[in-house]
């Protein structure tokens, strides 16, 4: 038995796995640099980071819920709703910047809280609950826009700054994204909240027995998801200069794929802020590169879906041989897991 002082072993497969994120990102980066002429331009890099900031915020909120053992599929439509809402606040209702932003964000937090309440306190299954909420958000969004039109109009400059302005040389959206990731990283990896959240995700019974308030923490996880999705939605509207109802769908698959890519590359098979970050980078580059190369849009779906499936499969089988050879053992293993071996 390995008596090491850190939990990390240095065998080759594990090394590969630990750095597989950066390796893959680098590989994809190089690939597109070679294949697409305009890839390595400053302008294009900006595109990537803008997309990445929004995707990153969505995916981060999603990750937090996954850590807690649940799943939130409503994040993209929630973000779209808040984006449209804030546009309406500014354009139709003439809110001031601060009031508009605050109100819109509060709405997002409120919806997240509602999700959290139903799931954590009423015991409803998070998958189907968030599917329902997702469609409710979508419906409301379309209702508010009278059928899916964008909400155009004059928006306060201060608001436009969020999506289009710069803090120094860093785009504001990236700044916000980095801030959120930094804070989340600290909260999840350093503070008790994150640690307890992982405990809940791994084994909520033991967590409860250890005195952790499982319901409350799960609730907070969904509030966080709601908050981050709202910020993403705000940035989208700010960047586009108008409230767009249909942007929601675009980020759903990508956000999920990014988070699970992060799970796949983690040596401990767990969701994490850092893992999701790498997933976001990877997917943003791919999204950008595919667009640049003029490849058809649907390829993105296939790639993103493929990454998702691949991420899960890679945990189970390293090679195809492994797949067939160990099929029977895998069935046996799951039999015994289901039955609960007594040792």
């Amino acid at each position: 038995m390995n008596k090491t002082h850190s939990g990390r072993s240095s065998s080759l497969p594990d090394l590969l796995k630990r750095y597989s994120g950066p390796i893959l990102i680098g590989a994809v980066f190089v690939l597109f640099s070679v294949e697409a002429e305009t890839f390595l331009t400053a302008f294009n890099m900006l595109q990537i980071v803008h997309h990445g900031s929004i995707l990153g915020l969505f995916s981060l909120g999603f990750t937090v819920t996954v850590i807690s053992g649940e799943i939130d599929l409503s994040f993209s439509n929630l973000g779209a709703l808040i984006g449209v809402l804030v546009a309406i606040f500014f354009v139709k209702a003439d809110f001031g910047v601060v009031v508009g932003l605050l109100t819109a964000t509060l709405f997002g937090i409120g919806i997240g809280a509602f999700n959290g309440y139903i799931i954590a306190y009423r015991g409803c299954k998070s998958l189907i609950t968030t599917i329902a909420m997702s469609s409710i958000c979508w419906g409301v969004t379309f209702m508010l826009t009278g059928g899916g039109d964008e909400v155009r109009g004059m928006m306060p400059d201060a608001f436009a700054f969020i999506g289009q302005g710069y803090v120094g040389i860093v785009p504001c959206s990236v700044f916000i994204f980095t801030l959120c990731y930094l804070i989340s990283f600290i909260i999840i990896t350093r503070l008790p909240f994150g640690h307890h959240l992982y405990a809940i995700g791994f084994n909520s019974e033991v967590a409860r027995a250890s005195g952790i308030n499982v319901r409350f923490l799960k609730f907070i996880a969904f509030v966080i998801s709601g908050f981050l999705s709202s910020v993403a939605g705000l940035i989208i509207t700010s960047r586009l200069g108008s409230g767009q109802p249909i942007v929601g769908a675009q980020f759903l698959l990508e956000g999920i794929a990014a988070a699970f890519f992060g799970v796949a590359i983690s040596t401990q098979d767990k969701p994490s802020v850092l893992g999701t970050l790498q997933g976001v980078l990877l997917l943003s580059i791919i999204f950008n590169g595919v667009t640049l190369l003029g490849l058809p849009l649907y390829l993105k779906n296939i790639i993103q879906g493929g990454i998702l499936v691949g991420a899960l499969v890679s945990k189970e089988a390293r090679t195809l041989v492994d797949v067939f050879y160990n099929l029977k053992m895998r069935i046996d293993k799951r039999h015994r897991e289901a039955v609960g071996s007594r040792s």
Binding site: H5, G7, R190, L191, F202, A207, H335, R342, S343
Partner: protein
């Protein structure tokens, strides 16, 4: 009237539907003592402990901690007064490492509320050093062995400064060296004023470590012995009682040819087990908890993989790789945990009965003949006296004893040749138990063979033709019914070969 006891329980009563688990039990604990709680399975030990840890609420009686009355409505209440429990199956998060598990929920905070892992690691290390044990605290504990995990669980309880520590069968997965270290730690804890309630089947351990011993039987306290007054015979007598209530004995049935034969079976913790079961025979497996009885059953039934050895049915060698294979060969397992393994609680009685062998009530198109199925179900309800409002009742609404009868019906319906019963009478009241024994005896009259697994020695003695005592995955000794006594079995259970 506090005589300095740190814990006083008086007149504790607790009843479940159909079962009176505890009747007027008194128990007290002095500071710095180890007080053992002894009794057969079902005697009420775990119920008492669950009341003390706030998992159950008592029906009657009083509990005083440190002289003050205490009410436990939740596990937190118990923790708050310094009561902590460790069980046979540790309450740990497998993906976390040792340090994280020890301090789960009670992390030592540094500045700004950030957990100070360095300090926790130091404290964890010192805890382990007190135990004289070396374990890697930085690997996820699913990489540790079961005994190491147990030690982490103990360290966890200790880190919470428990003044009253309950140890419930904690030594089951430990080696003798680890047990020695554990006992050394226990003595350290005593010196520091910690008090321990120690529950174990293993009388040798109890003798070694306990200052006082309280024996429970059938939910009542039989007596309390000082350590110096403790000897095996007295204890056994207290555990099983002097009175021989209407003793049930299985009739002598002429034994037929061997149905099931197992040679050199190994897998997991099971090592080199060989035995055979004949028609009309009840073969019992007994031994301490964790001896490997259920593991053996699960290999024979195809749940766990067999690594070595052969299984023969009616003389022919067979391969059993899944419960389906076992069923096809006529082997039926009534699992230990009937609620999650034996029955589909949300399905109706009649559906559960036919679940193992649906072909029997189906026509050639694969459709179930409802009338036939209902007739079958009714027959079992009548013959086995199952108390249920209807055959369509969902089995989760039945009482334990009746649920077990449904489990039995399942096997009988599949016309099994070999029945394996794993602790079938847990959580069942006396009357239902007796009914069950009769049913088992009837089964073997019809040429079936039964493997009966139980840690309740009295029922083993009453029912078996032969008894195999298991210990640490192997068969330790075999007894025929005539030569078996409770004492011999108990002695064999903890590895002492008797005289003669």
């Amino acid at each position: 009237m506090n005589n300095g006891a740190i814990l006083e329980m008086s007149g504790i009563c607790k009843a479940f539907p159909g079962v009176r688990a505890l009747k007027d039990v008194d128990f007290d604990l002095m500071p710095g003592e180890v007080h053992a709680l002894i009794g057969e399975n079902g005697a009420g030990k775990s119920t008492l402990i669950k009341i003390l840890t706030g998992v159950y609420t008592k029906d009657a009686g009083e509990i005083k901690v440190g002289g003050r009355r205490a009410e436990f409505n939740s596990p937190r209440d118990a923790e708050d007064v310094g009561i902590s429990a460790i069980y046979q199956k540790p309450n740990l998060v497998l993906e976390f490492n040792g340090v994280e598990n020890i301090f789960l929920g009670d992390e030592i905070r540094g500045r700004f509320g950030i957990p100070d892992w360095k300090k926790m690691a130091e404290k964890a290390h010192s805890l382990l050093q007190d135990l004289g044990i070396q374990i890697s605290l930085y690997v996820p504990i699913h990489q540790l062995s079961p005994s190491e995990r147990q030690i982490i669980a103990i360290a966890k309880a200790l880190s919470q400064n428990a003044s009253i520590l309950i140890m419930d069968e904690v030594t089951a997965p430990l080696s003798s060296k680890e047990i020695d270290s554990l006992f050394a730690l226990v003595r350290e804890l005593k010196k520091k004023g910690c008090s321990i309630i120690y529950i174990s089947h293993r009388l040798e351990e109890v003798k070694e470590i306990a200052d006082r011993n309280t024996v429970l039987r059938n939910g009542k306290k039989v007596g309390t012995l000082e350590a110096k007054d403790l000897d095996v015979e007295t204890l056994i007598r207290m555990m099983i009682g002097e009175e021989m209530e209407e003793k049930f004995f299985k009739e002598k049935v002429p034994l037929g040819k061997p149905i099931l034969a197992v040679k050199g079976l190994s897998g997991g913790m099971v090592k080199n087990v060989s035995f055979e079961v004949r028609q009309g025979e009840i073969l019992s497996f007994t031994g301490l908890i964790g001896a490997g009885k259920t593991e053996l059953a699960q290999i024979v039934f195809g749940i766990d993989p067999k690594e070595k050895g052969q299984i023969y049915l009616d003389g022919r060698e067979i391969e059993i790789n899944s419960p389906r294979d076992a069923s096809v060969h006529g082997i039926y397992l009534a699992p230990e945990d009937r609620m999650t393994q034996g029955l589909v609680l949300d399905m109706e009685l009649k559906e559960n009965v036919t679940l193992n062998d649906r072909d029997k009530v189906a026509n050639r198109f694969g459709l179930i003949n409802t009338r036939l199925e209902e007739a079958v179900a009714r027959e079992f309800v009548t013959n086995l006296s199952i108390a249920t409002p209807s055959i369509r009742q969902k089995v989760k609404f039945l009482s334990g004893g009746n649920q077990q009868k449904v489990v039995l019906s399942k096997g009988m319906f599949a016309e099994s040749k070999i029945y394996i019963f794993d602790e079938p009478t847990t959580g069942i009241d006396i009357r239902a138990k007796k009914e069950f024994y009769v049913l088992m005896a009837d089964l073997v009259k019809k040429d079936a063979g039964i493997i009966f697994i139980s840690t309740e020695i009295p029922e083993v003695l009453a029912l078996s033709d032969r008894i195999l005592v298991m210990r640490k995955g192997e068969i330790h000794k075999e007894f025929t019914r005539e030569e078996a006594t409770m004492e011999k079995i108990l002695l064999s259970s903890f590895g002492i070969k008797g005289e003669e």
